[in-house]
């Protein structure tokens, strides 16, 4: 029962995420990961991504969270007296640095895995974050 509830919850969250985007159809299988995403114009955005391919860094699109690459301290700025890497509403491109997670004086860059617009910053500056904790949410960058 708990599992079913979780699945329904997850589906509801996914629906929320694609609402207002040009995604027409989204099919998801969990074991061995199969995700099919179809756009309004019928072209597939992603098809049959296996976990291995995902680890290989297949280009991600759509809404998603940028997660912490390791456990450490989250920083929004390169240095205390400098502006933040990104702010809510800002466009980012795949590979762009969006934050730092510091672990024992080693500054580990956090980079966006997709193009998008920063929808939310989920963590306060200076907060300790877990491995793979969502740090910020990216929404699709519109039609362009």
């Amino acid at each position: 029962m708990a599992e079913l509830h979780d699945t329904v919850e997850a589906a509801a969250r996914l629906l929320d995420l694609i609402r207002g985007t040009d995604v027409r159809r989204l099919r998801l299988a969990v074991d061995d990961v199969r995700i099919d995403v179809e756009r309004d114009d019928g072209t597939p955005a992603i098809t049959q991504v296996t976990s291995a391919e995902m680890a290989g860094g297949a280009e991600a699109v759509g809404t998603g969270a940028v997660v912490a690459p390791l456990m450490g301290v989250f920083y929004q700025r390169p240095a205390p007296d400098q502006p933040p890497f990104v702010e809510v509403g800002q466009h980012v491109h795949a590979g762009q640095q969006v934050a730092i997670v510091e672990a024992m004086k080693s500054m580990n860059p956090v980079v966006a895995d997709r193009d998008g617009v920063v929808a939310r910053i989920c963590v306060a500056d200076g907060e300790v974050v877990e491995f793979e904790q969502p740090l910020l949410e990216l929404a699709p960058a519109g039609s362009g």
Binding site: L70, M71, G72, V128
Partner: protein
């Protein structure tokens, strides 16, 4: 006195569950630090809280010191129990906890470091009046020195990594012509395993018994021993079955071992739970091999015979309490035996096996305790050691305890993963084991003729 309100459990598997349970009993909140592979573990389920510290490989999660310290900072944990393995015998970790004001549930970094260096440990024990085997005078540098030392020690001998322990980083040499290859080989292994390629030579006792003594020491100089454990049933230097008391030890030798262990702990001012391991020769001479400065996998048989919770006493000692018992106050009674159920395929040279647990049935009933992290549907990950469950049988006599163990092994079922349970049933039927008079090599002799 340092209060312990929230404990970070820096380990996984059955030992993490074990620590969470004692925390619950003591009213201490528990936080389990876990890797991606252990997201759905029983310890995570049972703890008050969980922290995802890193990906599956242990060096990026369970042995990642910064990640564990950040996990304490994030969750407000004021103490860490390191369990067995991983960071439990890393003096840097113990020291780092101390520096940031977190209570490390274990001995001081100084004692961990002393016993982690097998050459220094031998020297300290010899100075404390503990018998040690003939050995090279410290680390051996080069083939020439190795031959010289071997000439003094005699054959067979064992080449051991200075930074080794727990059965890792050692090679037995029976003939002079095998010495130099074994020496080079052990150095290379030690370099890979411990980033320290120093090795030393020690006399090897081929048909000995492996007997260890559990001690408990507080920070006020009180040291007690909780009896011995016989860990002679080993395969490739890894323990498979342990029992207490040691069945073939006379009372004089038993008393001597226990006295020597207490003296050893006192001589270095040791604090916390610790184990002195000895090899006992056929003519009844005990020699120190190493000291483990942590909780041991086989601690439950001592708990069953003494009624003490060793995890609880480690925590109480770490928060500054004094032992309320003196020498002789805790006398173990009855007989206890533990078998380790490992995910190992005896048919494929004991290769580790993985899979999803189905049809799990854990034994129970009078005299049976099971420490395990298994549940139906649990996926055994390929990243860590193969221990799945410890079955502990207790009875007033060895005969009763072994009969209960036989009952427990008949009840035990775990489909989906290949285990070594069949080996244990073979062992119980072996006349040598049943007699109690068995030696190192018994496991290999039972395994070799069958598939």
């Amino acid at each position: 006195m340092s209060a312990v309100r929230r404990m970070l459990v820096g380990n996984r598997g059955e030992i993490a569950v074990r620590i969470v349970r004692t925390c619950r009993d003591l009213g201490i909140e528990s936080v389990v630090a876990h890797s991606t592979a252990d997201r759905g573990s029983l310890a995570v389920e049972l703890a008050d809280r969980a922290v995802h510290i890193g990906p599956a490989p242990a060096r990026r999660s369970y042995t990642n010191i910064p990640a564990l310290l950040y996990a304490c900072a994030k969750t407000g944990a004021d103490a860490v129990h390191p369990g067995c393995g991983f960071l439990s015998e890393d003096p840097l970790f113990a020291a780092a906890c101390g520096e940031v004001g977190i209570t490390f549930v274990g001995p001081s970094p100084k004692h961990i470091a002393l016993m982690g260096n097998k050459v220094d440990a031998r020297a300290a024990m010899r100075a404390g009046g503990v018998p040690v085997l003939p050995a090279s005078d410290g680390p051996v540098d080069g083939a020439y020195e190795a031959r010289q030392a071997a000439g003094d020690i005699g054959y067979p001998l064992i080449v051991k990594a200075v930074a080794g322990g727990g059965g890792r980083g050692m090679r037995v040499v029976h003939r002079p012509e095998d010495l130099v290859p074994a020496y080079e080989d052990t150095r290379a292994t030690a370099r890979t395993l411990f980033q320290d390629d120093r090795v030393y030579l020690e006399r090897y006792v081929p048909r000995g018994r492996h007997i260890e003594v559990q001690v408990l020491a507080d920070s006020f100089g009180n040291v007690i021993d909780l009896g011995e454990r016989d860990c002679t049933v080993q395969r490739r230097h890894q323990k498979l079955v342990e029992e207490s008391p040691a069945p073939s030890l006379g009372d004089d030798l038993r008393r001597r071992l226990r006295r020597v262990a207490v003296a050893g702990a006192e001589s270095i001012g040791y604090v916390s739970a610790g184990t002195f391991e000895f090899i006992v020769t056929d003519d009844g001479e005990p020699y120190f091999i190493e000291m483990n400065t942590r909780l041991q996998v086989e601690h439950p048989i001592t708990e069953e015979r003494t009624g003490l919770d060793l995890v609880e006493w480690m925590i109480r000692i770490a928060r500054g309490e004094a032992l309320p018992f003196g020498p002789g106050d805790v006398e173990p009674s009855g007989h206890a035996v533990e078998v380790r159920i490992n995910a190992e395929d005896a048919g494929r040279d004991w290769a580790g096996s993985t899979g999803r647990v189905r049809g799990l049935r854990l034994p129970a009933g009078p005299g049976i305790r099971v420490d395990s992290h298994l549940y139906d549907g649990y996926e055994v990950p390929p990243f860590y050691d193969s221990l799945l469950a410890k079955i502990i049988a207790t009875g007033p006599t060895r005969e009763v305890a072994l009969r209960r163990m036989d009952r427990a092994l008949r009840e035990f079922r775990c489909d989906g993963v290949v285990t070594n349970a069949a080996f244990h049933r073979t062992l119980l039927r072996d006349p040598g084991f049943a007699s109690g008079d068995y030696r190192l090599g018994i496991a290999e002799s039972l395994c070799s003729p069958q598939p």
